[in-house]
Homo-oligomer: 608 residues x 2
């Protein structure tokens, strides 16, 4: 070893010992003939003192930032102690030193708050990774990994590796493919998830499976998506939904405890997908704060179990509300104090193209009990007060109202709610609120193809009580305009998402395990029998040999780490991430390959 | 849950409890109106008793092998106990049952000794995985994984994930490549190992890194190679070779203890590469048994520090020995008893094309002290006795002798030694012998290109004392015939392999960490400066910012598991392996992809 101790290890109890340290030079400070150096390694920082006797040697071998240094010296007590670091009570009186490697001047200094900007960070990622905030992120990631593995191990889960070179069965996202040299003209695909393999492992009787595993999706990258990402992937046999919720609440609580020291003792809240959409306009609501949406008006075909409050706003001669599919309201606590300027800013905010609303109505519920509204030309004070009562606005609050097409308006209101929550400081980084969202629709309607698509994936089972609805009905949609009246539109899935602070961190389902039902599902998704057999014959086959009831979940590991680290960006929690064009700018990848390689793969580039 | 207990859990202490079990039907036995069923899950087998009262229900719902069954019943003591299974003291008196899923008749029965042959096993891998021997293999694999992670965690190693979509820099094996849709005409490569990334992590100061990680090589598959395979990949900073050997001896010993219950307390033996080749003809010798090779004659240019015994055989007028580059001998204990037929068989064995020798000479050292040889026409009894003395043949032994070109003959003798060890029962499956092989040559000579190639990889450092030899000499080989006299031929690497029972289970090296030396290495391998910068500019760049001394190792996880499991085949230790054509016959992958996908990737198939 080039060292006897690390740079984070020495304490008062070591005073008098002669030690050898190795690490990087963080800073150099000269006081006359004495030189102080902070030496850094993964474990900490230790102060070195080069006395006058070494100044000649230092002149001949000048030190610099980020040089790799090995030193030998005696641990002594510091006169000027530094309480902010664990080694702050001591320093090393250097007897001899050796420069193990030099460094040219880095493009940015290796400090917490200087990173040189995104492009430089990524190009010199190996220097960025030296910075403390990035190191802390990767340490947190490892701690989450370790904690998850320990919990799953203790609960009889087995890590079983599934293959990376598999079969291309695009459904939803695009596959990355890998040309096979040995099988000319054929391709493997990289897995979007180990879904079918973990189900086969259940058929094989492995009972409880997990993997922390890379997955791949060739999507157009939105901000904060990566073409390769990591899942904590799990599957269990002989379980019902309740068992899965229990087991994986336990997992997340364990991670909170091990990694954040947070005892999350509350029962995790649960909400149906319909309630989440109804109350929050969003299937991954941030429940750290309230401010639910109130539906003043909605079309009859959606949320048909729910009642709107259209009586409150109808027949007032207000064309905007009368002409809108939906009218939604939200109450902002203490919002009556908003100035004209603030309200104008909020109006501009909802009119941005990303939100796409035409305007914002408001009703102030003043401290004195009066109401004042942008729509009081159409609504009497009495009616406005009724609206205030319905939307639970107290004195001093303001009610904000959006109107328009149902889907867009609900989404806009959800965005507005989150923006207001942010502005009001209700989305606290150090508060963690978990939520299960349940009972998702099994299908979504695809306008492009006039058919059903799987909301989760094609292996998700319907609620047991709705299996017969699925089996007994023809999935074909004869009347596209009224697709909502097709029996399939009402089928709910045995699926669940875990939401943390408004982010989906995991999702899963109880799976189909009967061949007949799985075939019906493929049919519903517009697959011919031949296509289903070609793509998923192995799974349909497996279901004929005694498939057990089973279900599972996958957690987005990168995002989970980011949220636990108090960040919105997953890139900061990945050692070597790609940019938004899917490029690794440090490696300069992807890149061209030579003709010999292409010929061996029986491929030609076709840029026309 | 569909069960209150598993099928491996119930004991005498549960007698009287009412339990629910779920699992697969292993066997059904009828005794009159009573039916016995063995119910199987991952955890064990439990006997179920269906009494006469249920016979009507059973007639209406006939059971079959591999059906998935849920039962409710009372734990009772068995009259006829089965000591061979942990649940053998009890059985379940069934009160009600439910068939959760049926099974058609499997193509082979799910038993230890019936697997239906290789093709069926692979096609129906999900059934093969139910068989106990395969399950035990995957359990062992998980135990090794867990043990390795625990050890490395306790020694401050951090699991840091490295990317899978990287840059193609073929050197040695071929890369699998992945066309990029977003970067038209460009390709990612799948990593052959995370080598450069783990070195960058050392430059970044992570100090100790590990990963259990998939790697990919597009090679023509020899038997028992897989295009995707798993490594336990490790790297450490501020270490010398000795530190690595210590740390990873510890890892393997821990795995032995955790997984096999074996306390491997011996110090792991060490041998230089030269001694391994000299004594065993092999750089991964099986040292469970002796029978070293004796070099009676060798060319002067190889093993030039070693002395042959050519005086013993020269000047006898025996054209075969006189005309051979090398003459090698091995002593077989108690081999003097070999019959004529046995010797003929051994002669045929070495003449097979895979071995390629022209014949086999022998010298019997009889029990009575006389010698009898196939070459006594040329050698006096006195000379033969001298040979016997030199080759350490005792009375009752036989000396076998091969002659021919050095490389082929040494390899043939190594094979013969292993074959004899097998025949003599000296290669015991339950005996584990570790060995470090050290001091490999840094370079090998490539006749095709008349240049040096890296024996390990281009990042391996020479012995510190030989760095100057490397820097100061021109790597170009001017006299191809005498390449062995080039100074580079004598440079030894700071590299090491760990060998277990004659298999290389891991290998690594101390790395180059100086830009100048790394550039010289690329030059030695025939890379132009431009090519080196294009391929490895990021690494050369990183070495300019304070790269620490570092080194590491990677273990072949699949093979390690196979050897610990007493098997020669890695396929049996991989859940979903590929066949020798790189195909997954269960999935039928690789397969063709459609034109839309190809167009999106800007590719054309070119089968001409």
């Amino acid at each position: 070893m080039f060292r006897s101790h690390t740079c984070g290890e020495l304490r008062m109890s070591h005073v008098g010992s002669v030690v050898t340290l190795a690490g990087w030079i963080q800073t150099i400070r000269k006081f006359g003939a004495i030189t102080f150096v902070d030496l850094r390694d993964r474990y900490g920082i230790t102060q070195l003192v080069f006395n006058e006797s070494l100044s000649g040697q230092l002149d001949n071998n000048p030190l610099g930032r980020e040089f790799v240094l090995q030193v030998n010296g005696k641990v002594i007590e510091r006169s000027n102690k530094n309480a902010s670091i664990p080694t702050g009570d001591i320093e090393i009186e250097i007897q001899s030193f050796s420069i193990l490697n030099k460094s040219v001047t880095p493009p940015f200094t290796i400090q917490d708050d200087t990173d040189g900007g995104d492009d430089l960070r990524m190009k010199f990622r190996y220097l960025d990774l030296r910075r403390n905030p990035v190191k802390k992120n990767l340490e947190l990631r490892y701690a989450v990994n370790r904690s998850a593995r320990n919990y799953l191990h203790e609960h009889q889960f087995m890590d079983i590796e599934t293959p990376f070179l598999i079969k291309s069965t695009p459904e939803g996202a695009r596959d990355f493919v890998v040309p096979s040299r040995m099988n000319a003209g054929q391709f493997y695909a990289l897995p979007q998830s180990p879904q079918t393999f973990k189900q086969l492992l259940m058929v094989s009787g492995y009972d409880r499976y997990y993997q922390v595993v890379k997955c791949f999706r060739d999507e157009d990258l939105r901000a904060d998506r990566q073409p390769e990402f990591t899942q904590i992937d799990c599957e269990m046999s002989f379980v019902e939904q309740e068992d899965i919720l229990d087991m994986f609440e336990g997992l997340i609580k364990r991670i909170f405890k091990d990694v954040k020291g947070v005892e999350y003792t509350d029962q995790v809240e649960r909400m149906t997908w319909e309630d989440a959409m109804w109350q929050y306009g969003n299937d991954k609501p941030d429940i750290r704060f309230g401010m639910q949406i109130h539906t003043l008006k909605k079309p009859a075909s959606v949320y048909y179990n729910k009642t709107d409050q259209s009586a409150l706003i109808n027949d007032a001669g207000f064309a905007v509300f009368d002409g809108a599919e939906s009218v939604l309201a939200i109450t902002v606590p203490s919002g009556a104090a908003y100035t004209r300027k603030q309200l104008d800013e909020l109006t501009e905010w909802v009119k941005r193209p990303q939100i796409g609303m035409k305007g914002l109505a408001y009703i102030r519920h003043n401290e004195d009990g009066t109401v004042k509204s942008s729509i009081d030309k159409f609504y009497s004070e009495e009616r406005l007060k009724k609206i205030a009562e319905t939307t639970k606005a107290n004195k001093g609050d303001i009610i904000l109202i959006l109107a328009g097409a149902e889907e867009r308006t609900r989404k806009a209101m959800s965005e507005l709610r989150l923006e207001l929550g942010e502005q009001l400081g209700l989305r606290k980084k150090d508060e963690f609120k978990l939520l299960w969202v349940l009972d998702f629709p099994l299908f979504e309607y695809s306008e492009d193809d006039n058919r059903w698509v799987a909301r989760h994936h094609p292996f998700t089972s319907p609620k047991p009580s709705q299996i017969s609805t699925m089996i007994e009905n023809d999935p074909a949609i004869k009347d596209a305009a009224n697709y909502l009246s097709h029996p399939y539109a009402q089928i709910k899935a045995n699926a669940y998402d875990m939401v943390l602070n408004g982010n989906e961190i995991g999702g899963g389902s109880i799976r189909i395990y009967q061949r007949e039902l799985q075939e019906k599902m493929f049919e519903a998704l517009g697959m011919s029998k031949e296509e289903a057999l070609h793509k998923f014959g192995f799974l349909l086959g497996a279901f004929e040999y005694g498939a057990p009831p089973h279900g599972g979940i996958a957690f987005g590991f990168d995002r989970l780490c980011a949220i636990l680290g108090g960040s919105e960006s997953i890139r900061d929690f990945i050692a070597f991430p790609k940019n938004n064009s899917g490029r690794d700018v440090m490696l300069d990848a992807p890149s061209s390959i030579d003709d010999v390689q292409l010929n061996e793969l029986n491929l030609k580039i076709n840029l026309s």
